[in-house]
Point group: C2
Chain length 180, copies 2
DNA sequence: CTAGGCCTTCGAGTGCGCTCGAAGCCAACT
DNA sequence: AGTTGGCTTCGAGCGCACTCGAAGGCCTAG
């Protein structure tokens, strides 16, 4: 188990820390993940509480507007509306037609966000959600989709570890020529 | 050090294996990485030989045509020409104007591919390469770029581990509803 | 000498995932 | 009453990274 197989978040004093660029919008999800991670960057064993915590903050004032959800999730209001337009999420409305989000709605958004963060295309997320809606006799196909995505995630982890090795090598040999 | 912090490549018999979808084109690079990985999916300690092996296969018939490079790297000939057009790589030509690739050229392509696999935008790769060409007084900026990219990679690893946890949870609870 | 195949350039098209802007509604505050 | 601010819909536009196709060159085998 080498340093390559863990996630050295703040850097084990080997490399100077760099402000993280906001590659993906899930700031809140990341923060939750960070809050449960150990010092060496590894995650605690998977259990219900952890998964629950990774999906939702505990202190939720229940009726949330779109901009509050945007702030919590890091997804812009524009994108949230876009997701709804293409049928990726459904949202309740208040009497004047505004979107209101309860705990469950936020949970669904968080789930979609995790899938998107793992590189799953919107079309596949959509397909999965429609299977869920379609009822219990779609479990086989659902499971298939999940296993496929799991494999894709593992492949990406492998790619990233390779890239990390190459970049770290470059850093330690400090700015060497690209082919060297 | 839990199962989450390693990369369970073939799956530790917990989940059935799924044929990996070709998310990214670097089939050969992936194969090289797989060949040096331990059984539990962790990578051996970083050293020169490893990094060298991750960049190039050892048995290279030296004058390579574009389609051979395409097959080795998994990058299409179209994309290789595209990379050249936008100045991402340079390539020698034979007397009749065809592209020929030697070991160094292939090494540069592999390096670029690793950066791309880590999500670095083409523009940033380009910037880095132009700094390398510009000479040794650009080392500070080069190092900055590398550190930035390192941070981006670490962030992505964290995201993927979170997504993996969520997906695995769904798999073990077998096709449960999306918000549950 | 011609056919096949792989190469060349260049420009245009594609797919994905947002991202933005215009025009308008509604509630609350001054 | 008016003004502000945040919300609504809808369609169009954008940025990235390819991806493709057309038109033609060069070399080799039959």
């Amino acid at each position: 188990m080498t340093a390559l197989s863990t996630v050295p978040e703040a850097g084990p004093a080997e490399f100077p820390a760099v402000a993280e660029p906001p590659l993906h919008p899930a700031t809140r999800l990341r923060a939750i993940l960070d809050s449960v991670a150990a010092e060496d960057g590894s995650l605690p064993p998977l259990n219900d509480e952890l998964v629950r915590a990774m999906r939702l903050p505990d202190d939720l004032p229940e009726p949330l507007g779109i901009s509050e959800v945007a702030e919590i999730t890091g997804i812009t209001a524009h994108t949230l509306r876009y997701y709804e337009r293409i049928g990726l999420v459904e949202t309740d409305r208040d009497t004047s037609g505004r979107r209101v989000y309860d705990r469950d709605a936020l949970g669904r958004i968080a789930f979609v966000t995790w899938l998107r963060l793992s590189g799953m295309p919107i079309a596949s997320v959509s397909r999965y959600l429609s299977l869920v809606k379609a009822g219990p006799d779609t479990q086989d196909e659902r499971l298939g989709l999940l296993l496929e995505q799991r494999a894709a995630i593992v492949a990406q982890l492998r790619d990233l570890q390779g890239a990390l090795a190459v970049v770290d090598y470059k850093i330690t040999t400090y700015g060497g020529a690209c082919g060297a």
